[in-house]
Amino acid sequence: MLPKIQPALSDYYSDNAEPLSTRIFESIWNGLSNTNHSTENDIKYKPKILDLGRAQPDSFNFYSEHNCYLTIADCIQPLINLSWPAGENPNGVLMEKIAKTISAPEKKYDLILAWDSLNYINPKVLPFVHNHLLNFCTNKTIIHGFVFTSETYPTESGDFKIIDSDKIQHSVANNEVIRHSPLTPHAINKAMPSFKYARSVLMRSGLQEFMLIRK
């Protein structure tokens, strides 16, 4: 059990009504929406997005405007709750549990949103999550993520609202924090070896934006 400390990060959370300036997400989004689908009718390509987080009204409006195919997996908390199974064949048991947790149509997605989530997942479980996510990947799929890399960070994974492609608002349910060595984007990438580390931007108060691209 990780030690709980409070209060902390109060400056950040009292101030978090102001949206984050998300340079990497903006560049990914521009890249996806400018991709033309090479069909006979020359229809503009609709990006396919798998969001591991909860459904957010503002994000819906954003995707609605861009007419894309979106899957809300809403699986972060169940993934965080997964621990290493006891008994025989733990790998098989774990893979089965993850497959039930991340239930999405058998499609290949251009973008997987893993916002403030991968660093909360048990590091031993994360490679299995990676293996399951490969079912939904093309050879160009991008994982976009946010992680806290500061010494203290919220006890629970937060919510994100897309305001525009360059602005995303982050909020947490409470101000409780834990002091723990978090997984950095590089450590996450080590647990997800089928992706290569592409870019990372350190944002205020230790929140780090990063992207991984399928090798």
């Binding site: 609709k46 459904a55 957010q56 009204p57 819906f60 409006n61 995707y63 609605s64 007419n67 894309c68 195919y69 979106l70 899957t71 809300i72 997996a73 809403d74 999405a104 149509p105 499609k107």
Partner: protein, 172 residues
């Protein structure tokens, strides 16, 4: 197969009978009762819609050509063609739904095909895929599944029409 129009006619006939009886008893006793309070979870504009109450549990294919509010349990398929479906706060649906607009205040598991719009209110809980050009979600609404906003798949695929008996159909 279940037809809303038929159901509504039956309900209407029963209602008229009950009203007549009530009128008789009221005139006999010269005593008028105050109208009973009812819980209405649907918006005011939905007063003209047909409704399925909280105590009703229906399994099968539900079709109709008018708007419908469901506060009970429905399992199977719901096809309202170009009309509105409102799932009330108590509504619990496990069905694929085809309608013009779909408003979810209760619980719905299945595919939602909204020709015009799908709206999930703050009390709504949807587990399934949405096919509609417009999708909106209120703060607090729960949704797990996919959203396809392309212009296809909003109408229920029709069964092949044939008058051939089963045995001839098999041979064909």
């Amino acid at each position: 197969m279940f037809d809303i129009n038929e159901m509504k006619k039956n309900v209407s006939d029963k209602f008229n009978k009950v009203t007549e009886n009530n009128f008789e008893s009221t005139t006999n006793t010269q005593k008028a009762e105050a109208p009973r309070k009812t819980t209405n979870t649907a918006p005011a504009s939905s007063s003209h819609l047909a409704s399925i109450g909280p105590s009703i549990h229906f399994k099968g294919e539900l079709t109709g050509e008018e708007g419908l509010i469901i506060d009970g349990k429905v399992e199977g398929t719901i096809d309202l063609k170009g009309n509105q479906l409102i799932v009330g706060n108590n509504g619990d649906i496990k069905a694929d739904v085809y309608a013009q607009t779909i408003i979810v205040n209760g619980s719905l598991t299945g595919e939602l095909h909204g020709k015009e719009k799908v709206h999930i209110s703050k009390t709504g809980k949807v587990n399934g895929n949405i096919f509609s050009p417009r999708v909106s979600l209120e703060d607090g609404a729960k949704f797990k599944g996919s959203i396809d906003m392309s212009e296809t798949k909003h109408e229920k695929p029709s069964k092949p029409q044939t008058n051939l008996p089963d045995n001839q159909l098999k041979r064909a």
